[in-house]
Symmetry: C2
Subunit: 412 residues, 2 copies
């Protein structure tokens, strides 16, 4: 029986019915619904005779032994945000089942092939995303801090994990899973509008953006809106407004997919009768090239100082978070390009704005690549998230071809 | 005994000690401290043999009978905001005491002279400013609405007024107080930085600004900060930022003291990982000329539409409040100019951004003018509010000269 991509769509629909409600997907990691989804996944793979194992970080591994211990990994995450979409994460694991079926049917593969369902990619319950993949990658550096985390109901993270047989103290022992890994492949919905705007079903992901996130506070002087002439004002909002517009120019000048976002602006005292004394904004900057990202940050900082000076206000920068860009493997990118072209005629290379488990695997030094399939209206993390069935089927086919090409290259 | 301006400074200091604490003035209308201040004022005027009366709106009147029933009114308000300054309002009533002393000493004046201490100018307790003066002016149109008002402790406004002998239902009967009024004079601290920046102690007020106050909502599309290319965004904050900067250009182009203020900016969802979907701002525009004010509003509305269109977002305007400009009397402005020049050498004419009781009196058709005395750092409504003693003394002298000139003109 050959690859049957339509079965993936059927199985995703089945999963949706099993683990969603009228508000969307409810497969939040470490919950009973998540456990039900994992059991459902086991059930799908059982007929293949693959070996199943759950590691110390709660990642679920399905291994089809090959002629060599070296392994091709295909990974995704079945967990979702609350009221989430049916495809974010689950698409890859369910497509991976179909690819494993096809490979298993052809007899012993040249390399071992493993499907991994990463635990808690979303971090929806405890605010810590990429849990399982960062443990396996050895990059989880916040175990101490995680010990104190609680969910909205006050349940400690370690207790919730223990209920699923995961001991936080041992989570990093999951690192052994990546020993022998020769390549890692992940298919995901784009969660953005690029492929739709290009009218393309599929794209090849170059890597995940580096991110610089800062809180910027401008401090001027509150003053009566009626009695303070325009030229006597120290208006914090004016400086922030200039920066809100300038970051777009910075992104445009930098190019190559650069994005800069001011997502929040808070004014104090924030009343109609006073010039704004304090204006606090959040700035998010992303680029695939570390030096360009650093350049964008420097430009924004310079602009912030300049605007503060022009408006006679103070400015203060505080880093909220940052991460380096993570680049995927050039040879795997070539293979992915070939696979996409064979399936849909045209390929397109694009960076990923959101982080993915693939970024953690790539950070661990495993050659990695991702495929994106078009998202309708770019929507994700909502029940409105959707992709056309024909595009989903094409994505399964592309993943399958990429797996074949990667196996052939690694075996060759 | 001639006019003794230094006594006004001494008496203001005395009032501060009697009715303030380490946080500032506490003469909030309808409170016991306010009553104490009113009793203190009565005590100061008692030796002059003036007739005292409290009207139906709680305004305190002191009448020095003259040769004619026509009356020159001098007015201010002894009430303050909580933690307020020592001068806002009180300066005029205490300076008025000194002027009344001087006039009384000279024998029967040609016109009746009345000092009025308006009730609840600040509206600090119930959010309704200019209470007593609007009642006397006959412009109080919100009695029904006021009946339902409560202070922060839940006390109904009618009860608090009744405790001071004021029946809200009869407040408009205070209108009879303005019968026979021939002119109204008011001295006030500037509460702004203009006179200080010109290094002038005194100024003549041309009128109170007209105000247009609007809430403007820009509606774009929330989108992932990482996966949404810059040219695919519908960023509500960007449109608002353009408007925040453009209103300053509008004020500059309009000139003649025009002010435009964006005092509040609220972003939704307001998170670092999303383009702003909804941005709501408050716009306050003021001008002394009604047609220029209307022009500024029209320009802002046109700009808002243009920016919304440029950013592919929706925009909606909602009026919050507006008031027409109120112009003071040209002949009294001339007399005030003379008085100020005689006292300090140079006069300066300026509009008032804040409203004052004088605006209500002017609306009632009584020829009105105000004098401003310099405020240090433009600060008011705070214990930091201050004016140099020599400037306070000059202001008493200017008010006295203005009263003399006005009496002479009215009697002539």
């Amino acid at each position: 029986m050959a690859l049957t991509p339509s079965r993936t769509v059927e199985e995703l629909t089945e999963l949706r019915e099993l683990t969603g409600d009228e508000e969307g997907a409810q497969r939040v990691a470490w919950t009973d619904t998540w456990v039900r989804a994992r059991e459902w996944l086991s059930g799908k793979l059982e007929p293949l005779g693959v070996e199943e194992e759950t590691d110390e970080a709660g990642n679920q591994w399905f291994t089809l032994a090959g002629a060599s211990d070296r392994a091709l990994l295909i990974g995704g995450h079945i967990d979702s945000v609350p009221n989430g979409g049916w495809l974010d994460g689950a698409l890859n694991v369910v497509a991976g089942v179909e690819v494993l079926r096809r490979i298993a049917e052809e007899g012993e593969p040249p390399l071992t092939v493993r499907l991994v369902n990463w635990a808690d990619e979303e971090g929806a319950r405890f605010g810590r995303s990429l849990f399982g993949s960062s443990a396996a990658a050895g990059s989880m550096a916040d175990q101490e801090e995680l010990r104190a985390r609680r969910d909205a109901d006050g349940n400690p993270l370690p207790d919730a994990l223990a209920r699923q047989g995961v001991d936080l103290d041992n989570a990093l022992d999951a690192r052994r899973q990546l020993e022998g890994a020769a390549a890692y492949l992940e298919l995901h919905i784009e969660q953005g509008p690029v492929l739709e705007s290009l009218d393309l079903p599929l794209g090849v992901v170059l890597g995940t953006f580096g991110v610089e996130r800062h809180q910027i506070t401008f401090r001027g002087q509150a003053a009566h809106a009626g009695s303070t002439p325009m030229d006597k004002r120290r208006d914090a909002l004016a400086a922030a407004a200039k920066l809100a517009l300038e970051i777009r120019e910075i992104a445009k000048r930098t190019g190559e997919g650069a994005v800069c976002t001011m997502g929040s602006c808070v004014t104090r005292p924030g009343i109609v009768t006073s010039v704004v004394e304090t204006c606090t904004v959040l700035l998010d900057q992303r680029h695939l090239d570390a030096s360009k990202l650093a350049g964008m940050l420097a430009e924004a900082q310079e602009a912030g100082e300049r605007f503060a000076s022009e408006e006679d206000v103070e400015v203060e920068w505080e880093k909220v978070w940052s991460i380096e860009p993570i680049l995927f493997d050039p040879e795997l990118i070539e293979l992915a390009d070939e696979a996409v072209r064979e399936v849909s005629g045209t390929s397109h290379r694009l960076p990923s704005g959101p982080l993915h488990d693939a970024a953690e695997v790539a950070r661990a030094g495993i050659p990695t690549v991702m495929l994106f399939v078009q998202s309708l209206r770019g929507l994700s993390h909502t029940k409105l998230e959707d992709t056309k069935p024909e595009h989903l089927e094409q994505s399964v086919e592309a993943l399958d071809r990429l797996a074949s090409k990667t196996l052939a290259k690694l075996a060759g």
